[in-house]
Subunit: 200 residues, 2 copies
DNA sequence: ACAAAAAAAGCGAAGGGTCGCTCTTTTTTA
DNA sequence: TAAAAAAGAGCGACCCTTCGCTTTTTTTGT
């Protein structure tokens, strides 16, 4: 039986997902045709339908791999660094636009909503575990708002092109600390004016 | 020259926009066909194309009318009431899902992005005017995070069906006040468990 | 007043195109 | 050489838009 290695099969599947993600981020799910994915991936329609039974299944596959990173602690430095990372992913990979597409589709498709809800719940749990001791009692509420505001920064990047992360860092710390961050840590916030604020 | 009253023309145009908004909120822009809008509006295709030159133009028209309300002051009571209003609009009109569609499309279409950016800028300006005196210096940063977190609550409603607004009220007040809201005002936050949290 | 005319408003069948997917054929691999 | 893998032409369905026709409304002529 002539079967190619499992690693090769996995690589091909990933090749399709990578191509699809790139096009989805640039043109959305509906405005990306199978022919587009064929062109981007360098494979054929026949090959793609060997790995996915439908376009919808490709969309789900991309969504499952689109879960974002998180800061590893909730200090002004790490939070600011995390937002810069989100900003870089938006610039380089169009990741913010992709996330906007995913949220919109998840609002319509119950199966996609399940995927996204689980990712959000995992993010909230991870953040909740990081809240400082003196606010441990409100950890879940804090995590809810924290994760929401992070994804909102991504949304703003998607719509406005580039947005200064400083107000978001300050707000995230206010949510976590329950009071203004101490002056010395606020000074670490990057206040440089972004390249082209408010333009796409 | 036989021309019907301008009021009648406006009413017809609005009739089309109302029908389109309802379908867009339920099924997204791409999954809503002209035939759907015809069925929902009770008009004919020919009539619709008398008022709009393309489907895209209907989408823009709906987006222009989708600008959300804002709280009239930044107290825990008014902010909480505002979030309840957002929540009610999501339940009754699917408004949160519509907004998710708009943001996704704005991330792809420069013309739509312009419309949405102007609405966001107007909202930030309105909120900035409401920040209390002792934080007037950070009004713009506060408004940026405030508006973002409000729209993020809408996004969460779109994806998760219903979400307790309490964590968002607390976070919004933390952003505005720069410290935890005083106990008595926090007690006004509606802490009832929403009907079905985390399920669509 | 009334009717004929003119023009806007409304209608819907059909055109032209795109798209997702299938199926047969060809190529590759063990 | 036999079966898996890849290829891609073609099918059927759908969808946006156009265009000629009908209906409705206002104006005009008598």
């Amino acid at each position: 039986m002539p079967k190619v290695s499992q690693a090769h099969l996995d690589a091909r599947r990933q090749q399709i997902l990578d191509a699809a993600r790139a096009r989805f981020a640039g043109h959305g799910f509906a405005h990306t045709s199978m022919a587009d994915i064929v062109a981007e991936s360098g494979l054929s329609i026949g090959a793609i339908y060997r790995y996915f039974t439908s376009k919808e299944e490709i969309v789900v596959g991309v969504c499952e791999q689109a879960g974002g990173a998180l800061p590893q602690s909730l200090t002004a430095e790490t939070v600011s660094g995390f937002l810069e990372h989100v900003r870089a992913m938006a610039r380089e990979k169009g990741h913010a636009r992709l996330v906007a597409q995913i949220y919109a589709e998840a609002a319509l498709s119950p199966s996609l909503a399940t995927v996204v809800r689980q990712q959000l719940a995992a993010q909230r749990a991870a953040v909740a575990a990081l809240v400082p001791d003196h606010r441990r009692g409100d950890a879940e509420q804090i995590a809810e708002a924290f994760v929401a505001l992070c994804s909102s920064y991504s949304q703003q990047l998607a719509i406005r092109g580039d947005v200064d992360p400083a107000p978001f860092t300050a707000a995230l710390m206010a949510i976590v600390e329950g009071q203004p961050a101490p002056p010395e840590s606020r000074r670490t916030v990057d206040r440089r004016r972004p390249g082209s604020p408010d333009s796409p």
